[in-house]
Symmetry: C2
Subunit: 490 residues, 2 copies
């Protein structure tokens, strides 16, 4: 099909389409082999800081290079420096999955290269986002009053949620800002001691300052204590401090604890406070009837974030903010320069009006393809399997002498540590468990991360990769017990 | 290579690797055909609002669907709703290019699915960003003092630039915020009447309020008037208002005007004001010796943004912020929760410390592959060709009766309109030219957008797509003159 006109066009133009076809097939073959053998590479990159910088030239090439040479350097120099989030032994942070249909969708999105700032700059990108987010909202049993928007990350989603709350609470903030406002009292954002750090960063960015944060302590299960929340709000009100928002989390980062959203929603209703629910990781579990109770009250949130790129098999990045007061988000962010004004045959939604970012990738495509390829039942089945694997691992921890579990396992993350008899100093336990973790991570077969709960150093096993099977969980348990046995126990 | 173990793993797991290989080849073939015939589809989608929403089911499928069925819906329902940013007749906004090597890199990045928040979560992603941004910095003749970071969009880049300026100017803003600060005066951000609207949005988000914006008028060429800037700063200082930052643009959105950065940099130095340079579109032209003069003073900026996804043939999204005071950015944004703490063999850079977004895609890969595939000389050659095409078109406008040019053409954008003899009412000229634009856009062969300059409605022709050749520019001129001739001239 590529006639001489196309060849002529390629002089000074793009890569020749036939070369793209050939190299594209090569890339797909490499990826297919990689997905067939995801354990071929160590999960945590076994390189030293600076290795790649030293291996590459310090200046860009003056002349063009062949894709062959570039791809060769990719496999030879770049791949060894990759930490393989696709490895079934990835148990650190929150394990994620860029599933096959999602990767294919990303290939198409990259090829189309649409920028969906306006409806007109790609109607299908805007409307497919509406469709896919409607599907997900219904699957999660959230009410139709929730309008959705896709951002890159939950950090940006919570930033927008709090910006909308600020817009709702502080008169004229868009015009007058916060400085020199004798008419505006101090404000407070309530969150738990276990809320994700991105909320703190957002409060800083919004100009409210860390002093505006009230970190409410958690109960024994690390869920926010509503009695203390209520007291904090009352004390603030007495001191003339205005509540701006409450952030409740379903599935905290450290231990996947579940804040009592239902009670917090009652409080928000009674007090007229903006409720943001962070369900970035665990939100997808609202699709399963047996877990519905954990989400009680979420339907009353003003904003709720869920990340398909975390536990919905969608390649990174894709974070969804549901908002029942999208007017506030628009009021905060809509600002249409002349060069962005359009007129259409009917009212349309322009995605640029619901966020700080003018430019938008076509992220809905991958979510739509993933939802269709696996289907709702296929997604539920995979989530349940992950929870089962986590429970199995938790059972081993519970039943093995010298090991202890440090938090409930409501979803797919297990918090635990090795605690040999007689080793009771927290500093000693910390270095002991850090050594176990380092040994496991150095194996290249598994990758764990840590946190702290109530001052204790805790290892985390997070299940979430679509390729993780029972044998991988068995293997990491073997690695952990071997590493523990190899260390002095006192 | 895919043995029975892999097939077993696929039950309840990901798409089978052999299916990924087969469907991946199909996707690549579709893209190769699409790139070979980029004019097969109308550039501006010829659909009505709601078409796609109505064509798709309102609920997600319960069971899994074949990739075949999904891909069929993609080509049948989604593609007609795509506005084709790859079409060589795309002349709206800023024309961009997702070039072949960039798309291949995005395929690899989607497959690897790394999340580069920490060095350890993918050392190669962090280090390749350092390498590629060093290359680009040197190609643009910026000093080594500039450390770079990749964000998604220039909107987010300017947000970070202004957040860093706020951190530098307002004591304890991170802790105390802006409310109730009797110790902090009002502040001002100076920008031109033609600065991109994302700067206004950032100032709002940062809690400074639109009142903190001083839009300095432009001269006859729409470049910021430094005399008026100087006066505005002096008047503010007399009124006790503290300058927070000045934003100078090289290549404004409407007309690609060039603010006198050298003079503004002098002023910033004398006054101790943060200088942010917006070179999102035109920054790449600093690679060409003949355009170096336009960038005089940019080397003295505190922050500078350039978007490889605009005019550097890199698929969207990829925006680079160079900062010579990265300590301020880190001071503003670094916040390390326990679960993100790491220890490495040597000091490393963790990308999460330089931004609001914790999660980061592996965006450096595409920039690195694009720079190598075309080479510095190949990029310069393509940029020069685009400027030549814009000059050619400007020449036709200048030499044709009834047409007028409304701004200089320093780069690759032409601002012009049809102005028949006797038609002098601005409202009439606006609807006349809007009708011309709508007719051209309805042809499906070209897509233009508009702006306003000095109250006049202006058509914009933006060259930037890697596939645009002389014949496409000739064709849009023919379409424009035909559309003008078909309209009543009074």
């Amino acid at each position: 099909m590529a006639g001489s006109r196309d060849r002529d066009a390629a002089v000074g133009g793009d890569m020749d389409p036939e070369e793209f076809r050939r190299e594209g097939h090569r890339v797909v073959d490499w990826l297919a082999d990689y997905f067939a053998h995801p354990e071929r590479f160590p999960v945590l990159a076994q390189v030293q800081p600076g290795d790649l910088v030293r291996a590459l030239p310090s200046r860009a090439p003056e002349g063009p290079e062949s894709f062959d040479a570039i791809f060769d350097d990719f496999t030879r120099l770049v791949v060894p420096g990759i930490t393989h989030w696709n490895h079934p032994g990835f148990f650190a942070y929150f394990a994620i999955s860029g599933s096959g249909p999602g990767v294919l969708a990303e290939m198409l999105a990259a090829g189309l290269n649409v920028q969906a700032m306006l409806w007109r700059t790609s109607p299908a990108a805007t409307e497919l986002e509406e469709v896919a987010l409607g599907w997900l909202r219904d699957l999660m049993h959230l009410p139709p009053a929730f309008e959705g928007v896709i951002y890159d990350t939950a950090s940006v989603a919570v930033l927008h949620a709090l910006a909308a709350a600020r817009e709702a609470v502080i008169a004229d903030v868009r015009t007058k800002g916060l400085l020199g406002r004798s008419d505006v009292p101090r404000v407070r954002v309530y969150l738990s001691a276990h809320t994700h750090s991105s909320a703190d960063k957002s409060v800083i960015l919004l100009g409210l300052g860390k002093d505006a944060l009230a970190h409410i302590p958690g109960d024994a299960n690390h869920a926010m204590r509503v009695d203390l929340l209520r007291e904090a709000i009352a004390a603030d009100r007495r001191a003339g401090i205005l509540p701006l928002a409450i952030i409740a989390t379903i599935g905290t980062t450290s231990s996947t604890a579940i804040d009592p959203v239902h009670e917090i929603a009652d409080l928000c209703e009674a007090e007229g406070i903006w409720l943001h629910v962070d369900a970035a990781y665990a939100g997808v579990m609202a699709m399963l009837p047996a877990w519905r109770h954990a989400f009680r009250g979420a339907e009353r949130a003003d904003t709720l974030v869920v990340n398909p790129h975390k536990w919905l098999f969608t390649p990174f990045d894709c974070s969804v903010l549901y908002c029942r007061r999208m007017d506030m988000l628009r009021q905060a962010f809509s600002l249409v320069a002349e060069y962005l004004k359009t007129t259409e045959a009917a009212p349309v939604r322009n995605l640029m009006d619901t966020g700080i970012q003018l430019g938008r990738r076509f992220r809905a495509l991958k979510l739509w393809m993933v939802l269709r390829y696996f289907g709702a039942s296929g997604i539920r089945q995979r989530l349940e399997a992950h929870v089962e694997l986590a429970r199995m691992f938790a059972g081993w921890v519970d039943s093995t002498q010298g090991w202890e579990r440090l938090a409930p396992v409501p979803f797919s993350v297990v918090c635990f540590r090795h605690h040999p008899a007689g080793m009771d100093d927290e500093a000693v336990l910390e270095s002991h468990n850090a050594a176990i973790m380092d040994a496991v991570n150095a194996s290249g077969e598994a990758f764990l991360s840590h946190t702290k709960l109530d001052g204790r150093y805790v290892l985390r096993l997070a299940i979430g990769n679509i390729r993780t099977e029972e044998r991988h969980v068995r293997r990491v348990w073997a690695l952990l017990t071997e590493a523990a046995a190899a260390l002095p126990s006192m």
